[in-house]
């Protein structure tokens, strides 16, 4: 009897079917992996299993009984807990306080530090999840914080624990520790669902694997029985998709000058944790270097460091011969670095302002758009009309960006960045959330920019897109570049393995 089973789960959102008749079951005492890329539907499925979302169709069964969850509370009561990638911890409180927050077996009024710390210590002993209960969460390492999250579930008697990409934030040692704890947990009869894209870990710690791709189940594999063949799993995960109609990327001569040179770059995130580790690469004029990898492996920090929005802790970024000033977006802009950020509507564009204002966003100081201390609306309007026309954007110059569709907004952003005659164009999330025709336009625009000699750094979670549009592909995993390969005729399986953290012999 499965501990938890999903049968025929379907869940739709506007424009996309996140889960399409997904079925999946976990046996008691099992560590079951849920494998898939971004967009495969694994997080949506788990949110359904933990009561955050309701399915449009299908059923969820726990220990053979059908259940209807209307809130996370219902799932808690049934013993289902999820540890998400972004922790729900209160930094300033202690570990014990976080664990007992909201619930207690005794239902008392008093909550003395000593008592709760003792209780939490007992739980952590039992499951071998050692954390100091009196430490404050902000003092803990990420691995320890994750343990606190797991303790929350164990303290409340979880029988089914769902972990969403637990190892993205862990060091290898912490990973080993986690795996050992998971085995202890399952030994007591609990089940663990392990969401991941990292094959090595999946094969190391899980008993069975269910693979999702684009919202559907594509296979369930028993690790022990089938023998651990990562390549087969990689193929299931990544698949052989039919690509969108695109142009072939241009072939660039080896003597073209280097436009962007990144040397031994080290970048930390907001919490001081190193997210980009000793990364080096260079891009020539007219070349497109794609950066492939599952989200969360340091791509954002890389883009922000190159464009000056984030200081780097080591290394240098050079545009042509010029070393960019650390942490200065203005210097990057002046050096000719254009940036299409992931956060389209909050950073790249201001939704509450008109299209004309957004077009002038970076350039309003230049003599082409201004005259002395004044911004010339006539010039801005002329440029806006020109851009809307050239880039085939449907929308009026005086409508606010918020009124535009996602695709048109993205086109405005691309148009602005590409038309500023940059030397380097950094693009993150080129086509995310766009419909097919918008996707085609965006891709065409990118290739056109490369054709004009712009060096393009294309960061994307969509491997197909990267392979179609790039000359070379760098695969990033855990802040490092696993390898740089030519895009033409690339070995998809090999790249898939690198994305999942496995070194591929050159």
């Amino acid at each position: 009897m499965p501990a938890i089973a999903a049968r025929g789960i379907t869940r739709r959102f506007p424009g996309v079917v996140a889960n399409d008749r997904v079925s999946f079951e976990v046996l008691p005492g099992e560590v079951h992996a849920l494998l898939g890329e971004n967009g495969s539907g694994k997080t949506t499925l788990c949110k359904i299993l933990t009561g955050l979302y309701r399915p449009d169709e299908g059923e969820v069964h726990i220990d053979g009984r059908r259940v209807h969850f209307t809130s996370p509370r219902d799932a808690f009561d049934a013993g289902v807990f999820m540890v998400q990638q972004h922790f729900s911890l209160v930094d300033r409180l202690t570990v014990a306080e976080n664990v007992v927050l909201g619930w207690s077996p005794h239902r008392t009024f008093r909550c003395r530090a000593r008592e709760i710390e003792a209780e939490v210590a007992a739980t952590s002993e039992r499951f071998n999840m050692r954390v100091d209960p009196s430490a404050r969460v902000w003092q803990l390492s990420v691995g320890e914080r994750q343990r606190v999250e797991i303790l929350k579930a164990l303290y409340r008697g979880a029988r089914i624990l769902i972990l969403d990409e637990p190892t993205t934030v862990l060091t290898p040692q912490e990973c080993e520790h986690l795996f050992a704890s998971l085995r202890d947990m399952t030994a007591s009869g609990a089940s663990v669902v392990f969401i991941s894209h990292k094959l090595r870990e999946v094969t190391a710690v899980c008993d069975r694997v269910t693979v999702l791709r684009r919202g559907r189940t594509v296979g369930a594999v028993d690790i022990a029985a089938a023998g651990a063949d990562p390549r087969a799993l990689a193929r299931l995960m990544v698949g052989h998709e039919v690509s969108l109609a695109t142009k072939d990327p241009l072939v660039v001569g080896a003597d073209a000058p280097v436009a962007l040179d990144v040397r031994s770059l080290g970048v930390s995130n907001d919490f001081g944790r190193l997210r980009i580790k000793d990364v080096s690469f260079s891009i020539r004029r007219g070349e497109v270097l794609g950066v492939a990898g599952v989200a969360g492996n340091g791509q954002r920090e890389l883009a922000e460091a190159i464009t000056g929005l984030r200081s780097h802790t080591a290394g240098q970024v050079l545009v042509g011969e010029r070393v960019l000033r650390n942490g200065s977006p203005g210097d990057a802009i002046a050096a000719g670095v254009a940036y299409v950020p992931e956060d389209r509507m909050g950073t790249g564009l201001v939704p509450s302002l008109k299209v004309t204002d957004n077009v002038a966003l970076k350039d309003f100081r230049s003599p082409e758009l201004s005259r002395g201390p004044f911004v010339s609306p006539k010039k801005v309007l002329a440029r806006t009309r020109d851009l809307l026309d050239r880039f085939d954007v449907s929308g009026r110059p005086d409508s606010t960006v918020r009124q535009l569709s996602g695709g048109n907004a993205q086109k405005v952003l691309l148009a602005r960045e590409m038309s500023s005659n940059p030397r380097v164009l950094v693009v993150a999330a080129l086509t995310r959330g766009l419909d097919v025709s918008a996707m085609e336009s965006a891709r065409a625009l990118l290739l056109e920019a490369a054709g004009r000699g712009v060096a393009v750094l294309l960061i994307s979670e969509d491997l197909d897109e990267v392979l179609d549009l790039s000359d070379r592909v760098a695969v990033v995993y855990d802040g490092r570049i696993m390898g740089i390969v030519g895009a033409h005729g690339a070995d998809r399986d090999g790249i898939g393995l690198m994305m999942a953290g496995i070194e591929v012999a050159a």
Partner: protein
């Protein structure tokens, strides 16, 4: 230095600091839930006017009239805070502007003045005032006598309140939930705690305290009515909460410190120091600015900072 001066300073400091302490404790609770209520000054003034009016109108023995007056003041503060809570929490209004509205509404050209003219409140003292007690008959002791044993019941209550609030925050389950709500409402919500409920209750309680603090002015300190008699104490209390890093104990120390600074002018003048009174009167305000500058340079690390979710709206992602 002469004992007498120190003792006088401390006693005056406690007197002037008490309303700051009470209002500050209320705002501390409100801000711990993540709500910033700038309207304390308005609530205090309305509380002061209400208390004075009720004390003149209610018959019966002094203690009864004063009790009813204080309760009325607390109720008025709570009512104003409730309106604030509805507008900010349910209608999602900008907390800064709404707090200002509350301050203007209740302030010296607003409702407090309205109440005063309706109730014909004047500078003449009312029939009842809160007087200092003589605890255990020990008020005559040197130094500690006047400070510890010769205070009025509100001062003693405020000391108890500091202890109670500290215990509440740090040793009870509800206090733990409150702290979580103010720091990370998403985490609290995910553990089944009602963010909205905590914010509403603590905002209303904060208002009640502010009303009580105002009542202290018109029933004990002044003790009568004049327009705008709190002279910005509500705003200073806001600065005090920041200065105290949102902790009750530090708040008490800060309140008494500011009380001493406020009373410094009167004390020194009584001893013949001739500097313009405005200079002394300006001291608490200037000190608040200095204290804020110092705290903001220290606060750059989030360890000691404000409740992380202060003044931020929270709503669970719809599904």
């Amino acid at each position: 230095m002469n004992h007498n001066v120190i003792v006088t300073l401390v006693v005056a400091g406690i007197a002037y600091g008490t309303p700051l302490l009470i209002a500050g404790l209320g705002e501390l609770l409100t801000e711990r839930s993540g709500v910033l209520n700038l309207g304390i000054e308005g609530m205090m003034l309305v509380g002061a006017a209400t208390a004075f009016w009720v004390s003149k109108v209610v018959g019966g023995p002094a203690w009864f009239a004063l009790l009813v007056a204080a309760a009325a003041a607390m109720a008025s503060g709570a009512a104003m805070a409730l309106v604030f809570a509805v507008v900010c929490i349910t209608f999602r209004a900008n907390q800064v502007v709404t707090g200002l509205a509350l301050a203007i509404f209740g302030g010296s050209i607003g409702l407090s003045s309205y109440l005063a003219s309706s109730g014909k409140l004047t500078k003449a003292a009312g029939p009842h005032q809160i007087r200092a007690l003589n605890v255990l008959g020990l008020k005559g002791l040197p130094i500690v006598g006047p400070i510890l044993f010769h205070e009025d019941v509100v001062v003693y209550a405020s000391w108890a309140l500091v202890v109670l609030v500290a215990l509440y925050l740090y040793t009870t389950r509800l206090g733990l939930h409150l702290r979580a709500v103010g720091e990370q409402p998403q985490a609290a919500d995910s553990m089944g705690i009602s963010v909205t409920l905590y914010r509403y209750t603590h905002t209303v309680v904060g208002g009640a305290f502010a009303g009580a603090a105002g009542a202290y002015y018109s029933l004990a300190l002044t003790p009568s009515w004049s327009n705008g008699l709190t002279a910005g104490a509500g705003w200073i209390a806001l600065g005090l909460v920041i200065f105290a890093f949102w902790r009750p104990g530090l708040l008490m120390a800060g309140a008494y410190l500011f009380g001493i600074v406020t009373s410094l002018g009167f004390t020194l003048q009584a001893r013949g120091v001739t500097l313009p009174p405005e200079l002394f009167a300006a001291l608490p305000y200037v000190m608040t600015v200095i204290v804020l500058v110092l705290t903001s340079s220290i606060l750059s690390g989030r360890r000691l900072g404000s409740p992380a979710a202060l003044a931020q709206f929270y709503e669970r992602e719809e599904h």
